[in-house]
Subunit: 586 residues, 2 copies
């Protein structure tokens, strides 16, 4: 059986053959296999619509039923140029091929395409395969805005029908959970073109989540002996020249600003600021480890076309830390940093979708700091610590930073895609570059080592992940609104207001809905906002001095005393307990 | 009797005359009266030191004893140039005088100075006056770094000796309390030349104060119905063109940064960001008031020479808010904003050193938005609300913003100098400029009004004020360290550690000093750090299961149970109680 790449690529030819039958004047671009199927770029004289896609897909079915051979042959450059003379994009591709390169074409019925292959031998092998034309989008020829805009037909393709069905279902779920869509629906954040595309504005509800997560991580870190600080968003360009960021990292940095002849840049990282704090005083071996931490604003230059939601932004906020310690403290500090990240993932309820990747150096010379003894010591400490922590991890050889090994913590989203959300890096280089030192017990000057690490990651990216993971139905401890109080009749308003005051006094985040609307509508709206508890108050509750509570996650409605409810709801906040699994979105 | 300005100015001439006697080759600059005395700029061939100042001051005393006349006369330009031909700075001044200006000189014994006067008639009138040469500093001629550096002799001068004595005492106290000095001594913040002069780095202890104040104000505002948000530190330049900031305020803004042909600027204010949030949805009369609030990073371009400590910085953090409301809600919202500021000043313990200034428009046309009816309505609401709040306030006519009246809250420092720390402004203009609106109950579109306000001011400036006001001896609720545990002997270490765990569990910020040092040294160091409570543990405390507590503010030491101490210390935090008055610095 052919592999899925070959199937997808062959289906792209079938698509092009079908298009040729229906649109004889079409000009062909290219049609590769991609992660979830394939696409083909065409230059049509008219725009396509959903109907056109249906027609093309039935034509494709005919071709696979017909069982046509897909035949390879080779042409000289001259013959190829002659053959494709009415296809300007193909001519451009042929002219771009290096001298002497074999030019192969594949013929499928009346359709012949310039192509390297491989393909299935006959379209009958595609009959049982599962595919669906999914969309049409504009795409510049060869990705450059100087070239003509073509129409790209996308398709999903898998070996078996159940795979495709499952993929489509997961995609639909993912689209419902898209953090940009939920961000708008749940009023978490907004993006204003006038402010800037990669500069999200956190609306009150999103800001509440962010504040809760920020306070959670700061408090947790402070209780673990981190020294939280604040440092400015910018610095002299020379600061980043000293750190080496300017030389190595300039393309990702904002352009410098000239103030009275001095150049300042927005910071891409906080290491230099924290090192300057360390250097504000003489330090002794007794002062170490010093764990500087900060919820730091950082700035990265990103291409405007890549900016999206909270994932890729122009300015973000990292729960950053630089642990400056003695070599003999490194292992313990590294383990504690991993343990903290593990704890945070558990508190956020995402430990099950997280995996660990240990990035080590490979044999490539020049890619890493040249000190074999140091590397061996560091890597054996690093792996030893991971093993002691009893973590499952993969090894990524050749993925270390140039200054030391690092642990990447990967989170897997609803589509199964993995993204790094936290990194813990060991660094032997920057302490020397900034010439930081401590006085050892024998009075000599020693160089400390550093761990760069995060604990909850970049707040924007982590929030995007949490929004999608929970589909907006956040655990009560960081839900922006925990309780909404709904009334059945006006007569209970005073009682409801009294309940609200008591809930707020207990520290719960409460909204009210005392409008003159049907209880059905009120409940529906509360569910749409994914509020963990809807407290429903009618005459019977008022008379009995109770409340009725609808639980978002179980869907159950129970009547209980206000005190019992408060005890349960605040207890859930205190122990980060999560009644919800990722699959239960309302 | 002459007024103090004349006395100070005459003393400057006496100073110059004395210098001429001791340094015949000296070249004279200028010598004006200033707020607390006078100065004179000289070009000496040698640097002055403290001894030189003493010699000059005794020579001045001789001159006042001699009772010399100070005689005015007038010279033609030619005669003046001839007379001062050996004094290049005077020649430059004469050449700078407009044609036709009367050139007057004052003669005091052998010394004659180019001067407008007035002066006392005879130096005997200066005999009873109190003055002291205080310091020498370098100063560029006419304040420009293109000119030669001169030596400026500063002096304090008052009518009576007790005034001078009192002034010097207050100055010494102020210097001890200088937030830059205490910032370093108490390790609150540091400034690194490599990062940038106006870009302070908050060290762990200063960051703790800042975090406590930030959480305090955010929680207080949220409980009062403010909608806390986060918005980015920068935006498209066009955003600030729309708001008018770019046109009116460009010189105080950072230079734009070009990213892919788009210009971005660091924000000087948050109004446009908050307005964009308001505009992210249609708003109805029922949604108002909306009180957007943010702990906002803001950027102002300041001349590097003016940057100092936490007072004048290049980037600061304002507890900012924009209250968007209907005209009929304006009075209530304004009053609530004033009431909040008043509450905050009380919680910080500085209500007694705060005064209010109501800034209204005057008759000058063109300086204010041209709508008399609106102004009359606004000012009468504004003053009416202040009167109802029963606040004492001054009126500053002609000090309104161009878009409406404002209330300035002034704090008076140890030297009696007033600075604005909080402003509450009424604004009729920006809502129209950003075209923000709401749907009224009759379905028509209406324009809301806005209040720009702060509550705790700019965190850097407020912290600078608090550091100086309390001389670093902060109320326990925001002291970075509330308790330090000191041991008398090693034998009690375990008991002390147990006490520390319990104190931390109670939420107190605790340091330990278990070093093998004398208790006298440990107490002295704890006092120097202005820690509210020193808990002292020896064998007798361990045996009795008690602790000895030394109270920073009363200086008393008492023995009590841990539970009683915890109850007292946490209670003090909860009600912001302050045992300390500003005069009691250790």
């Amino acid at each position: 059986m052919s592999n899925i790449e070959t199937v997808r690529h062959s289906l792209a030819h079938v698509l092009a053959a079908a298009v040729q039958r229906l649109y004889p004047d079409v000009k062909f671009g290219i049609g590769p296999a991609i992660d979830d199927g394939f696409y083909y770029d065409f230059d049509f004289s008219e725009p396509l619509n959903e109907e056109s896609l249906k027609a093309i897909q039935s034509e494709m079915k005919k071709i696979t039923k017909q069982g046509l051979d897909i035949e390879r042959s080779e042409l000289s450059r001259e013959a190829a140029l002659e053959f494709f003379k009415d296809q300007p994009y193909k001519v451009e591709l042929i002219n771009g091929l290096p001298e002497g390169e074999i030019i192969s074409v594949y013929k499928l019925g009346d359709f012949t395409d310039l192509c390297m292959g491989p393909h299935v031998e006959n379209t009958k092998h595609l009959r049982q395969r599962a595919y669906k034309l999914s969309s049409v989008a504009g795409a510049y020829w060869r990705g450059s805005s100087d070239n003509p805009m073509m129409q790209r037909i996308y398709a999903w393709a898998f070996m078996e029908k159940p795979e495709l069905k499952d993929y489509i279902a997961r995609r639909e779920e993912a689209m419902k959970r898209d953090h940009r869509r939920l961000g708008e629906e749940l009023e978490l954040f907004t993006v204003s073109e006038l402010v800037g595309k990669g500069l999200p504005l956190f609306l009150p509800k999103g800001a509440t989540i962010r504040r809760i997560l920020e306070r959670f991580i700061v408090d947790e870190e402070v209780s673990r002996g981190y020294l939280h600080v604040y440092s400015p968003d910018l610095g002299h360009k020379s600061l980043y020249e000293a750190s080496g960021h300017w030389q190595h990292y300039k393309d990702s940095m904002y352009p410098p600003m000239d103030l009275e002849g001095q150049e300042y840049v927005l910071r891409p990282m906080t290491c230099p600021h924290h090192f300057m704090m360390y250097k504000s005083k003489l330090r002794s071996y007794r002062d170490l480890p010093m764990r500087y931490a900060e919820l730091a604003t950082q700035f990265r230059r990103e291409l405007s076309g890549t900016l999206t939601g909270l994932i890729r932004v122009m300015s973000f906020h990292l729960a950053d830390s630089h642990i400056i310690c003695r070599m003999d403290q490194m292992e313990e500090e590294f383990s504690a940093a991993v343990e903290l990240a593990d704890y945070v993932m558990r508190a956020l309820g995402i430990r099950d979708v997280v995996s660990f990747r240990a990035s080590l150096r490979d044999d490539e010379k020049g890619k890493y700091v040249d000190d074999d003894a140091l590397w061996e010591k560091a890597e054996s400490m690093f792996l030893g610590a991971l093993d002691k922590l009893d973590l499952e991890y993969e090894i990524g050889r050749g993925e270390a930073a140039f200054y030391g090994p690092k642990l990447d913590i990967q989170a897997r989203n609803v589509m199964g895609k993995e993204d790094t959300i936290i990194t813990i890096q060991i660094d032997f280089v920057l302490p020397a570059r900034f010439d930081i030192s401590y006085t050892a017990s024998d009075g000599t000057k020693e160089r400390p080592v550093t761990i760069h690490r995060s604990s909850i990651g970049c707040i924007e990216r982590t929030m995007a992940f949490l929004i999608e993971h929970y589909g907006g139905a956040f655990p009560s401890w960081f839900a922006p609104v925990q309780v909404r109080v709904l009334t059945l009749v006006d007569a209970v308003d005073d009682y409801a207001k009294d309940v609200i005051v008591k809930l707020r006094k207990a520290g719960l985040r409460v909204e009210e809905d005392l409008r003159n609307e049907s209880i059905g509508k009120k409940i529906r709206e509360g569910r749409l906002m994914r509020i963990p508890y809807l407290v429903i108050i009618g005459n019977s509750e008022m008379e009995a001095g109770t409340i009725a509570v609808r639980n978002r996650d179980t869907g159950e409605q129970t009547t209980l005393s206000l005190d019992d409810f408060i005890a349960g709801a605040t207890g859930e906040v205190d122990d980060f307990s999560l009644k919800l699994s990722a699959g239960d979105v309302a």
